[in-house]
Structure formats: structure tokens, C-alpha cells
């Protein structure tokens, strides 16, 4: 055990957990990493490429090494950073990316072949023989690559999403963030304070600083307490703001239950879209390391992380309490690690500082002007080699803290592609001026690294931000705090022949960067892509600046001249589950149910997805063993008797106003203004590019009132286009439109007995052919007073009507019609029978109106009026459209037992099967119970002149060829006598 005194862990409670099958104990307040360190466990994982043994490197979300598979079964979560995994009782974790046990990873042999795996090596080989890539090389590489494993089971937990609004979003709850939130909170502003940690305080929790001569952790706790008491402040710990989007929208993930064994009734995580009038970026800074030979052994970590483990988690970073610890620092801040560890009773070997004039800040051995240029220890650090004044010596060492300076966390400030700017006094990039508007960097994120400067800048940023939105905030009286100047050397790496790691996870070394330079992969984006530097799970947080410095040195440029890669969301990894939220599985999209849905369910209907709608596909009856049997029965019932079908899904638009007729004239290719009141007309719409768009009916209910229908698929778009025409093209017309698709239930009553059925429900209305002929419409009442609209239109080709009633009466109407027509054999039919009936009549539907066809192709060329302009009329006359000779035809199999298959292509008999000889394709097909064979519709070159010709329908995809005869698309009642009867 290497547990120290003090710290912010609750020793009164013991939590047990397992790592790689072995049980350990920790305390509330621990992370998995701190608890493992406290148990003397240094080896936690393996690197990506060379499978080098790795231990914890950081104390935060930037961790590149200590990645584990957390939990088991369907909850298994790969690549989980042990450094931010809050310990809970019963936690189970396993190390990942190794073959065999962690301490004897068979894939570690990769390390012996490392010279062969230099940057970009795979671009230069594995090319011969060609077929070996997919069969051998790639599977081998893929198997060795990757990090953790998915369970391949569906995530069992629940997730949610929500919106939040505030005046000021404070990102980060360290010194700067707390000061900003307190300033704004006291001013009465609506504040959200979000921090990725489970406890507010940021670096204050990790340092031994005092504020007003009291421990800084106490100040943080009291501010947190005051903020919690303010009703206008929302504190969100365990919440990462991962991205900045346009106009003050921030994406954040709250880990609601990740600190529990299972979420129980709670969601595991929530996605918040936070709309903030202003925001303060107080995300702190990330320490950087200094590459030197063999700098990747377990036990070598960031000096600041080492302080955090000692101060906050009361943990020495060594395997044994007696092992001495060293610090390698190019700056004063790093020396504090030695001081803090000594204060905790940890033996300190000394501080190695390459600055010849490095100060000694306490009672430790100082190796000024010295460097570390070698380490030992296969599975954990055992010794370091210090070179000073040209003399090298090995020293026993159990852990090493490396302090290479701090990089402000500028990520969010750069999400709008504004580049950070180099600040030479800090030797770091700070947020540039081109950041997201309304985002104010503060504290260490803005390069204000001392506690005093962070507090001050947090307060000032909040005041400035709030002033812009008219909220005056008074200055806080800030506590006295350390204000140490930043003193550091531009010392970026220790030169040497052995490998010095820059990017730990992806195993990118200084040598790889030198090779990239040699091969002219010098632009920073090339460097990144050639070496995979910065492409690991930390997105270069621990590697990029060091790498830039090395490349700058090689190219004899400055670091800012060398540039930075682009910062992209998310700031840290975000689970795909929470980004999907609850809108997955059966809830992926809402279901739209028709007014008769529940009635249809009771009838045992089978439903089918039609866009967002669920429609009854067919209504099987007991004894029917195959869907075709049902559909044949339903289709025959319509042609012989009467059938009912819910057609509510068709779009309906109410068009009213003195200019309604003129308006519709401009929208439909055919004349609508001349339609008589009480009449319906079939209408065709074109897109402005001249192609066929949508079809439907226009009914004129009164002089200034039309009701039009659209196809189900285009209900939304057509209405949108109508509003576009009304508001953007012709606002001078006196016309109003409103979508009424959901307001009216509409039921098709089709078949020779449909009139007889309707006569039983209409209230005193003459339905005789003379009084209410084909294409008549009327408003009326049915069922003793229910408001209804009746249209005598037919999709089936039979005598038919569509009756509309207010949607809430749809189900009752359906039930009433079923009851009233029982003796007529009334039969509900679904979309399958509807399809059979329309194919038998040659009516176009989605497969024919697919947006690629023209009015002429559909046989509707004459509907494009030459007497008036309408949308698309001009462009429909272009050569390419006018010259298109493909026409809609009917197709029947020569062998009546054969099947017509939609999607087959049409060829002249004896012609080669090629694109050049392709003459068309089959759009729709069905078995016609009336013709006793399969029939189809299709587009065929010169179709209208080829009636009677025998073609071949080729379906090489399924190895089929079928001989078909070209016939009229109107298979049934081609003269249209039945519907006028």
C-alpha cells in the first residue's frame, strides 16, 4: 500500500473493486487510477503499436495510457480512462489491447520489431501480391490494432437529452471558473457551472496551496456551497462541455450514473444542448512532458498529476512506499512536486532541471543543468539515468514526475476554427481572437496560471461577459493567493539515440518525427497523418506541442510557424449512446397512426411502415395461410362488392381566397381555375425543373375554397412549396393555405356496392349518378349530423368515393360503415390490395413518380397546359425532357405462371444484355386476381408504339429472365366505364 495521509478520500468507507480479476480496496473520492496506485499497481495497460507496458500518466481526462475495459456483459465499456473513473463498490475493470496476461503480452514482440514499424511503414509495403491485402495483411493488422473491445450487445442503459438556457455558462470549476460563477451568481444572472470532475475545485484540489492562509480546498468547498444555495445557479459536476456550436449553443454530457454500479431507475448519461448568452472558458491547462530515452515506463507521469495523486488522493505513485521519487522539470512549477511529496513523507531522489540556473525551492537534491537520458524497469520504473555536466549516473527510482510546462486548454476556443496564438512568455498557445463569439477564456485556459491570476481573470471574464448583456456584476473580494511567476526554459526534449516517446498511446517517438521530416512530411497535418501523432484517444493533448517543438527544431522554424492542427469536437470522448439519446430502437422516429389504427389492430391487421406512418397492409382472416390469399380476397371484394381503406395519409391542403383558382393554376400543370364548384379534378404538379413531382386531386367546395390532396410521401414538401409560392413568389394573390392532413380522416369506399353503402349513412343526400356523378364533391352530413366531405373519385377504377370526416370521428365512421355494410359484404382492405387495384388500373405511384420521370413518360403529357404558365412548365419543354421516348406500359408474362419482377430491366428479344441495349425497367408489379396472373408496369422506350411486342425482362441479380408482353397499362376496364357508372 502506498496510501499517504490527508487527501480528499473518505477513509471511513471501503470500496472493493477488481482489476484483471484481482480484488483491491479503495475509498469514496478515489478514481480507479488513484485506487490502483494506492495499491501499488503501476502497470495498467499496453500501448497501441508496440504493446509497451504502460502506467498512469495523468490525473485527468487527457490520459493516454491507463485505459481499461470497464464493467462486464452488455455494459462493457472499452477505452475508459482509469484517471477519471470514479470508484464504486464492486467496480470491475480489465486492461485491454494485449494477448495473454497484461504482464506477459505476447504482442509485446512487436516492440522487438519496432525498427520495421517506423512512421508510415505500411504505406511502403504489403502491396504484393494484390489479393493478400484483404486476405492476410489487413486482417493481421486489424487484429493487432484497435484498443478495447465492444461487447457486441445492445447497450441496456437509458439515455436522455434536454435543452438548457442561461445568461452565463461557466466551463470548468477550478479557481477561475468558481470565481466567474460566483461573480455571476451573486449578480443574479442565470448561471450554469459545468465541470467534468465529480468535485468542484479543479487544480485547487490537487495542490497544496492556501487561500487567505487556509487550505484552498476549503475555499472551493465554501464557494461551491454558496453557489449551490443560489436559485439562479445550476451546478453540473460530472458534466463535460464537449463542443461549441453556432450562436451560443454548447454541447454537454452529464454522466448521471457512471459513478454507480448500475444506473438503476436513472438514465446513465444526459446530453444537454446549452444555449448560453455568454460563456466563460475556464477549462484549465494540461501539463506537457519532455520526451527522453525510454520515457514511457509505468511510474513515469506528469509532475502535476503526481502532485494530484499525493495531495488529493493521498497516494504515492510508486509500487513500494520506500521507493524514491524524482522530478524532471524545465520550470519552477515542477519543483513543487518534490516539495509536496516530501511534505507527505515520500522519499525524494531530487529534481533534475536542464536549466543551469535552476532554483532550489526546498530541501531536495537539485541536478541543475541535468537531464534524464535513460530509464530501466520492464513493467515499472526501477532506475533513471541522470546526466549532468557530461557525467551520467544511474539512480534507483520508483516513480518520476515530468514537468514540461502547461498548455492552456484552448480547445473549445478553437472549435470555430479560430487558431490559437503563441505566447512566448508562456511558451504555449493561448486562445486567439477568432474564437466563438460570446466565449471568454479565463484562468489557466487563457494563460493565467497562478491561483491569484486565475481568480482575478475568472471574475473579470464574468463581469465583462455579463456587461455585454446588460447585467452589472460587482467585483468579488478575492482571497490572497499564490502568484508565482512562470519561470521555464524552452527545453523540449532530450536528444539521444534511443526512442523517446512523444505520443504515448500511438507510440510516436522523436525518431518518427525526424523520419517524417526527412521524408518531407513536414506540414503539421502531414506529420500528424504520416506518424498518427495526436490521433489517439487524447487527440494530442499530451503530445502535440512537444511534437511541434521537435518539428520546429528540425525545420529551423518557430513553433507558431510550424502551426497547429485543427481542434475539433468533442473535447473528450462522448459515448455514442448518449448522442443517440432515447431516439433509438423502436423510438428512432415517431410513429404516425391513422385515425382507424386501433380499429385495424382489433381486426388483426398487419401493418407496414409508409414513411412515418403505420398503415394497414392487409387484414388476414382465420384460415388464410398466405398473405397473397388475403390480398386477393380483399382486391376481389372491391371489384365485386365494396371495400374500405383508410387513406388519411394522403396529404390534404385547404386552399382558400379570392385568388385560390389562379394560385392553383400556377401550381398545377393543368387548369384548376376553371373547375366548377362541386367538382374534382385530377392534378399533376411539376418541379420547377420540369420533371413530374406529385399528383392528387383538387376539389372545389365553393367559389373561393379548394381542397387538394397530395401523395403520402410528398404531403409535407408540397405544402411547403405551396407556402413558398404564396409567400415568396406571389404574395399579391389573395389566398391562404393550411395543411389539414391530420385534421380529416379519409376513407375510400370503393366497389360497385359503394353507393349502396354510402346511401345508408348520408343524411338526406342524393347520391344518384345524375345528382352526384363521377368527379363530384360536396360537403354534407352523415350519420345524423356528422360533418363530412364526399368526393366521388376512384383509385381502384371502380365506382368509388372518398369520404372525409373530422379525424376524431374516423374510427367511428369506419365502424359504422362496417356495420352498415355487413350484408353487402363490406371488406376492409390494406395497402397491398390498394396496390393491386392501382396497378390493374395503371395509376402511377411512388415507383413511377420517383422524381426522375416526366409527364410524358407517365402518359400525362397532355396535362401540361400550353395555355398558361405553371411551375415547371417552361423547363419541361427542354430538349432532354421533350425527347425522352420512354413511356409507361403494362406488362404481362407470356407464360401465365411466370412472375413479373419490379426492378428487372427490359430488352428486345434476342438483344444483348448491356447498358446500350437496355430499353427500360419494371417499376411495379402485383398478382392480379382478376387476370389470374402476375402483371406489371414499367417504362419502355417508345412504349406506346410497341403494344403486343414480346420483351425479355432480365434480372441477372437473381438469375432470372422472363418473357413479357407489352400491353396497355389499363389492365381493367380501359374505357373507365365502371367508375362512371
Amino acid at each position: 500500500m502506498t496510501r499517504l495521509n490527508g487527501g480528499l478520500v473518505d477513509r471511513g468507507t471501503t470500496l472493493s473493486f477488481a482489476f484483471n480479476g484481482k480484488s483491491y480496496a479503495g475509498h469514496p473520492g478515489d478514481t480507479l487510477a488513484s485506487a490502483l496506485l494506492a495499491n501499488g499497481v503501476q502497470l495498467m495497460g499496453r500501448s497501441f503499436k508496440y504493446h509497451r507496458p504502460r502506467g498512469v500518466f495523468s490525473a485527468g481526462s487527457e490520459e493516454p495510457n491507463a485505459m481499461v475495459e470497464l464493467r462486464e456483459g452488455a455494459r462493457q465499456e472499452p477505452n475508459t480512462r482509469a484517471t477519471v473513473t470514479e470508484l464504486y463498490d464492486g467496480l470491475i475493470a480489465r486492461s485491454q489491447n494485449h494477448l495473454g496476461p497484461l504482464n506477459r503480452d505476447l504482442l509485446a514482440m512487436n516492440d522487438y520489431f519496432a525498427p520495421f514499424f517506423a512512421a508510415g511503414f505500411y504505406y511502403k509495403t504489403f502491396m504484393w501480391p494484390r489479393a493478400f491485402w484483404e486476405k492476410l495483411y489487413e486482417p493481421m493488422i486489424r487484429g493487432a490494432a484497435g484498443l478495447g473491445r465492444l461487447s457486441k450487445q445492445a447497450d441496456p442503459d437509458a439515455y436522455d437529452k434536454g435543452f438548457l438556457h442561461c445568461d452565463l455558462l461557466v466551463i470548468g470549476g477550478g479557481a477561475a471558473g468558481l470565481a466567474a460563477a460566483l461573480t455571476a451568481g451573486r449578480a443574479g444572472a442565470q448561471v450554469i457551472l459545468a465541470d467534468e470532475d465529480f468535485r468542484l475545485g479543479g487544480r485547487l484540489l490537487a495542490e497544496s496551496h492556501t487561500l487567505d492562509d487556509a487550505p484552498a480546498t476549503g475555499w472551493a468547498a465554501s464557494v461551491a456551497q454558496e453557489l449551490a444555495s443560489l436559485p439562479n445557479v445550476r451546478l453540473m459536476t460530472r458534466t463535460t462541455v464537449f463542443g461549441v456550436y453556432d450562436h451560443g449553443v454548447y454541447g454537454a454530457v452529464e454522466r448521471v450514473a457512471d459513478h454507480l454500479a448500475t444506473p438503476g431507475p436513472r438514465v446513465r448519461q444526459s446530453l444537454w444542448r446549452i444555449t448560453a448568452k455568454r460563456a466563460v472558458l475556464a477549462a484549465g491547462a494540461t501539463e506537457r512532458h519532455i520526451p527522453f530515452a525510454d520515457n514511457d515506463r509505468p511510474g513515469i507521469m506528469l509532475a502535476g498529476a503526481m502532485r494530484a495523486y499525493a495531495n488529493r488522493w493521498a497516494t504515492a505513485p510508486t509500487r513500494n512506499a520506500a521507493d524514491p521519487v524524482a522530478v524532471f522539470a524545465n520550470n519552477d512549477d515542477g519543483h513543487r512536486t518534490a516539495l509536496d511529496l516530501m511534505a507527505k513523507g515520500v522519499p525524494v531522489l531530487g529534481v533534475i532541471d536542464p536549466r543551469p540556473d535552476a532554483p532550489r525551492l526546498g530541501d531536495y537534491d537539485l541536478f541543475a543543468g541535468g537531464v534524464i537520458d535513460g530509464t530501466k524497469g520492464r513493467l515499472g520504473l526501477s532506475a533513471i539515468r541522470i546526466t549532468q555536466d557530461g557525467r551520467s549516473s544511474w539512480h534507483r527510482c520508483g516513480a518520476l514526475g515530468v514537468a514540461g510546462g502547461w498548455n492552456p486548454n484552448v480547445h473549445l476556443a478553437s472549435h470555430h476554427r479560430g487558431r490559437p496564438v503563441w505566447e512566448e512568455t508562456l511558451l504555449a498557445f493561448v486562445p486567439g481572437t477568432g474564437g466563438p463569439s460570446g466565449l471568454f477564456p479565463a484562468g489557466a485556459a487563457a494563460g493565467k496560471g497562478s491561483t491569484a491570476a486565475a481568480l482575478q481573470s475568472g471574475m473579470e471574464a464574468a463581469r465583462k461577459a455579463l456587461a455585454e448583456i446588460g447585467i452589472a456584476a460587482t467585483a468579488l473580494s478575492l482571497p490572497d493567493a499564490e502568484d508565482a511567476p512562470i519561470r521555464q526554459a524552452a527545453f523540449w526534449h532530450v536528444p539521444g539515440k534511443r526512442r523517446a516517446w512523444v505520443d504515448f498511446q500511438n507510440d510516436v517517438t522523436v525518431k518518427d518525427i525526424a523520419l517524417a521530416h526527412k521524408e518531407n512530411m513536414r506540414p503539421v497535418e502531414h506529420l500528424k497523418r504520416w506518424t498518427t501523432l495526436g490521433m489517439a484517444t487524447d487527440q494530442g493533448k499530451t503530445a502535440n506541442i512537444s511534437a511541434l517543438a521537435v518539428m520546429a527544431e528540425l525545420t529551423d522554424k518557430t513553433i507558431p510557424e510550424t502551426g497547429t492542427t485543427i481542434f475539433r469536437p468533442p473535447y473528450t470522448g462522448v459515448s455514442l449512446s448518449v448522442l443517440g439519446g432515447g431516439d433509438t430502437g423502436a423510438h428512432f422516429r415517431p410513429k404516425r397512426l391513422t385515425p382507424t389504427h386501433h380499429w385495424a389492430e382489433e381486426q388483426g391487421a398487419v401493418f407496414v411502415e409508409v414513411g412515418a406512418w403505420m398503415r394497414a397492409q392487409y387484414f388476414p382472416r382465420p384460415g388464410e395461410t398466405h398473405w397473397r390469399e388475403t390480398v386477393d380476397r380483399e382486391a376481389k371484394a372491391v371489384r365485386a362488392g365494396v371495400g374500405l381503406c383508410d387513406v388519411t395519409t394522403l396529404g390534404k391542403v385547404d386552399v382558400q381566397g379570392a385568388d385560390a383558382g389562379e394560385f392553383l393554376n400556377r401550381l398545377y400543370s393543368n387548369m384548376m381555375g376553371t373547375l366548377a364548384v362541386g367538382k374534382v379534378r385530377y392534378g399533376l404538379m411539376l418541379r420547377e425543373d420540369g420533371h413530374a413531382y406529385d399528383d392528387g386531386t383538387c376539389a372545389r367546395l365553393s367559389e373561393d375554397h379548394y381542397v387538394v390532396t397530395t401523395t403520402t410521401a410528398n404531403a409535407g414538401p408540397v405544402y411547403r412549396n405551396m407556402e413558398f409560392a404564396r409567400q415568396c413568389l406571389w404574395p399579391d394573390l389573395d389566398v391562404q393555405v393550411i395543411s389539414t392532413t391530420d385534421a380529416w380522416a379519409q376513407i375510400a369506399v370503393a366497389g360497385p356496392k359503394s353507393r349502396a353503402l354510402l346511401e345508408r349513412i348520408v343524411d338526406e343526400f342524393d347520391l344518384s349518378n345524375a345528382a352526384f356523378p363521377f368527379m363530384a364533391c360536396a360537403e354534407m352530413t352523415v350519420c345524423k349530423g356528422l360533418r363530412a366531405r364526399l368526393f366521388r373519385i376512384s383509385f381502384s377504377g371502380e365506382l368509388a368515393y372518398e369520404i372525409a370526416v373530422p379525424a376524431r370521428y374516423g374510427q367511428a365512421l369506419m365502424a359504422r360503415l362496417m356495420e352498415a355494410g355487413a350484408d353487402l359484404g363490406v371488406t376492409p382492405y390494406g395497402t397491398e390490395a390498394l396496390g393491386v387495384l392501382r396497378i390493374e388500373k395503371g395509376h402511377a405511384a411512388g415507383a413511377e413518380l420517383n422524381g426522375q420521370t416526366t409527364a410524358q413518360m407517365l402518359g400525362l403529357g397532355r396535362m401540361v397546359s400550353q395555355k398558361k404558365d405553371s411551375i415547371g412548365a417552361i423547363m419541361s419543354r427542354r430538349e432532354g425532357l421533350a425527347a425522352d421516348r420512354r413511356r409507361l406500359v403494362g406488362l404481362t408474362p407470356v407464360d401465365p405462371a411466370a412472375t413479373v419482377t419490379p426492378g428487372a430491366h427490359l430488352f428486345a428479344e434476342g438483344a444483348a444484355r448491356s447498358m446500350a441495349t437496355d430499353q427500360g425497367w419494371i417499376t411495379s408489379a402485383a398478382f392480379s386476381p382478376h387476370l389470374g396472373s402476375s402483371i406489371g408496369l414499367g417504362f419502355l422506350e417508345d412504349g406506346e408504339t410497341r403494344m403486343g411486342e414480346i420483351l425479355v425482362a432480365a434480372n441477372p441479380l437473381e438469375g432470372q429472365e422472363t418473357r413479357l408482353k407489352v400491353v396497355s397499362a389499363h389492365f381493367i376496364d380501359p374505357e373507365g366505364e365502371r367508375l362512371r357508372d
Partner: protein, 416 residues
């Protein structure tokens, strides 16, 4: 220097001392026979084929940033030739054949991996449309298979077959489709072009065209004037901006497409899978990341970044389709600017200005087209005749009514 396994071993044993620069950093010459504007995938491929196939000796590629920084630097790496329309399918199949020999041709491993693509269908109507498409592919000499639900389940048992809002009924598969390592493609072409004498000039932004008497004379650049016999523009994403300098308006809008990659995972997803009831496509990289995308954001943009609603929409689709990916984390998202054309298909054509040629309008499908686009553009630049597979990609198809509209949505770029 020829790359090979032998060479890699030799260098490993001799301290990597022998590697040279992958390409030179030449200064611009005063004039070239052919200047390609844009050092992205299409521009580099054009230069490669100009030098290799069409034996053009004096060729330069001008790139305003670093080579390969176009959309070839950020995409979802899918290659396929599963188109429907006669104007498209032969071209993309030509591209697929070039992909199949790319590495041997460039002596650079671009990791062309033919692991197959499956486009899932969820309705009978979709199945029929895919059958039509699959047959069109076979008729054009490509490969295709129509899979039933059981066959899809066998290949991808992790898909949501149990409680899907839109049940998976099957899929159209192209076994020869797959992915390629996008940067590797750019670098392979760049190195191959450079070896054959093409000057690839990075950090050289074209700021104007010098046009006299209706003929292009050369280009003004951030590194001075460069004369040119012919200028080929291949700057998809920025086409309108660049061609405006020559006084042209294009049938193109610039839109942002976001793409996504997860943290590295052990092998999980076999090939490329696309969702037919939402917009989501995914594959897994050799490094282990799930690489996926969906719809464009839908508004004109040059910002190279997108917004949260589309992030959510894409990942909702992914989670609905394959709920087992939920415990993986999104590592990075990015946005690229697409030339969204008015019919969803590209343009490779001469312009009204003599000597000025245009290649663009790739929507978000340009990556797979890279080899054929480069070859066809090189053919056009070298011979002044369109390549036989790219004859339909003309400017005047809009005026004349010969659009190539695979989706059938008309002149609405954000729906293509």
C-alpha cells in the same frame, strides 16, 4: 525510390538512413503546359495520369495549403460503384477498376480494401429500387448481390433485427466495394506525379486567372504569376469561389458535411454498411475506429464545421441500426465543404473560356471517384475530348435537360 517490403526491411536494419523525400518542394516555374488548381485528391490524380498515361511533361499542381488538404484529407473513405443511372455507373465502375490496381500503379499502399458494402432496405419499394440498381450495375460490368434478411444477418448479426422502427428486410451488396486509406491515396498520387516530373507547389493560392481574348493565359498566385497553356480547376468545395474569379456562375452550392470517428476498437464491423431508413453509413478503419457519417447539415456553408442537430441525427441512425456501438465513444467529428451540384452529379468539362477546364460538383461522393475523375480530367486536358465514361458530366446538361439525378429530387442541392 521504389517502395517494397524488402526496402522496409533494409532501411530498418540500417537505421532508416536511406529514405528520401516523398516529393520535392519545387519553386514555381514561370510557365507550364498544364496547371492544375487544387492539390486535393482529384487534382493530384489528374496530375498523375497526365504525367503517366498522357505523357505530359510540364505540369504543375497549385495547392493553397498542404497537398491532400481537400476533402481527400477528411472523408469516410468509402469506395463503391453502385450507381443506377447510365451517366454515372460506367464512370464509377471505371474508377473501381482503377482502385483495384492503384497500389501497383503508384507503388504506394493506399490500403484499398474490398470488404464490400451493404445498402440495407426496409420496404418492398426500396427492395425493388435496389433490384433495378443492382441489375444496372451488373449490366455495366460491375458486381452486385441482392441479399435477403437472413443473408444480411449472417454477415452483420449485430444489426438491430429485433425492435427496429424500420425493420431490416435485406440489402443490396457490392462485394468489390470497400474503403481506402484516404491520405494514402493523396500521397500515392502525389509521389507518383512528382516522380514523373510534376511540380506540386504547396502554399500557393490562386488569386486570379489571366484571361485575354477569351483564352486563359495563366494564373495569378500568392507566389506570383504562373503562365499556363491550359488550366484545370479541381477545387471541390470552393468551386464557385474560384470559378467566380473567371467570371463564371456554377450549378453548385457549398455545403458542410460532417463525419465522425470513434475511438479505436477491436474489429467489430466487417465492411461498409448503410442504413436505408435513416442516413447513416459506417465502416471500421484498420486502426480500429468506427468511421461514419450521414446527412449534410443542409445550409450553404464554407465554415468546415457543422452543428449539433446533425451530429445527433447521424448517431441516432447509427444507434437505431446497430445498438451495440453505444458504449463506444465519439473521438472526433469534422466538417468538410462539399460542392453540392444541382442534380447530385459532377461536372468534368471545358468552360466557355478557352483553355480553362473544370472538375467539380462531386457532392459528398468525390472520394470514390478520385481515380476516374483524375483519369477523365487528364484525358480531357490532354486530348480536349471527354473520356468515354465521363461524357455525361457536361455543363450544358442543365440547360438541355439531361440531368443525372440519382435521387430524383431536382435542383435542390441539400437533398442530393
Amino acid at each position: 525510390m521504389r517502395f517494397s517490403g524488402f526496402r522496409v526491411v533494409k532501411e530498418a536494419l540500417t537505421g532508416h538512413k536511406g529514405w528520401g523525400m516523398l516529393w520535392r518542394n519545387p519553386d514555381p516555374k514561370p510557365a507550364y503546359d498544364i496547371v492544375i488548381v487544387g492539390g486535393g485528391g482529384h487534382g493530384l490524380a489528374t496530375a498523375f495520369y497526365l504525367a503517366k498515361t498522357f505523357k505530359q511533361a510540364r505540369v504543375a499542381v497549385l495547392e493553397k495549403g498542404w497537398l491532400g488538404s481537400g476533402n481527400i484529407g477528411r472523408n469516410t473513405t468509402i469506395i463503391r460503384s453502385n450507381y443506377l443511372l447510365p451517366g454515372n455507373e460506367p464512370f464509377y465502375e471505371f474508377s473501381m477498376k482503377l482502385w483495384e490496381n492503384l497500389e501497383q500503379e503508384t507503388n504506394f499502399n493506399s490500403m484499398v480494401s474490398q470488404r464490400g458494402i451493404i445498402n440495407l432496405y426496409h420496404t418492398d419499394g426500396q427492395r425493388d429500387a435496389y433490384r433495378r440498381r443492382g441489375n444496372a450495375m451488373l449490366l455495366a460490368g460491375a458486381d452486385a448481390r441482392l441479399l435477403g434478411q437472413d443473408e444480411v444477418r449472417e454477415i452483420a448479426p449485430f444489426l438491430n433485427f429485433d425492435n427496429a422502427r424500420f425493420p431490416i428486410k435485406g440489402g443490396l451488396m457490392q462485394p468489390r466495394a470497400g474503403t481506402a486509406r484516404h491520405d494514402g491515396v493523396a500521397w500515392g498520387y502525389a509521389r507518383g506525379a512528382d516522380m514523373r516530373g510534376v511540380d506540386i507547389i504547396q502554399n500557393c493560392e490562386v488569386t486570379g486567372f489571366r484571361i485575354e481574348g477569351g483564352k486563359v493565359q495563366g494564373v495569378e498566385t500568392s507566389r506570383g504569376y504562373i503562365g499556363a497553356g491550359k488550366v484545370g480547376v479541381a477545387v471541390a468545395g470552393n468551386s464557385s469561389r474560384v470559378m467566380a474569379m473567371a467570371g463564371m456562375r456554377l450549378p453548385i452550392e457549398s455545403h458542410v458535411l460532417q463525419a465522425f470517428v470513434s475511438e479505436g476498437l477491436k474489429p467489430t464491423i466487417p465492411g461498409v454498411i448503410t442504413f436505408g431508413a435513416g442516413h447513416f453509413y459506417v465502416s471500421q478503419s484498420d486502426k480500429g475506429g468506427l468511421v461514419f457519417g450521414g446527412d449534410i447539415d443542409g445550409y450553404n456553408s464554407y465554415a468546415q464545421r457543422g452543428n449539433l442537430p446533425v451530429v445527433e441525427d447521424v448517431i441516432e441512425g447509427g444507434m437505431a441500426l446497430m445498438p451495440m456501438i453505444g458504449r463506444a465513444r465519439l473521438l472526433r467529428s469534422w466538417g468538410g465543404i462539399m460542392d453540392m451540384s444541382m442534380d447530385g452529379s459532377p461536372i468534368i468539362d471545358r468552360t466557355e473560356i478557352d483553355g480553362l477546364y473544370f472538375n467539380g460538383g462531386w457532392c459528398y461522393g468525390g472520394f470514390k471517384a478520385t481515380p476516374a475523375s483524375g483519369y477523365a480530367f487528364a484525358h480531357l486536358l490532354a486530348t480536349d475530348r471527354p473520356h468515354e465514361t465521363a461524357e455525361a458530366y457536361r455543363f450544358d446538361r442543365f440547360a438541355r435537360g439531361y440531368v443525372i439525378d440519382e435521387k430524383g429530387v431536382g435542383a435542390q442541392p441539400n437533398l442530393h
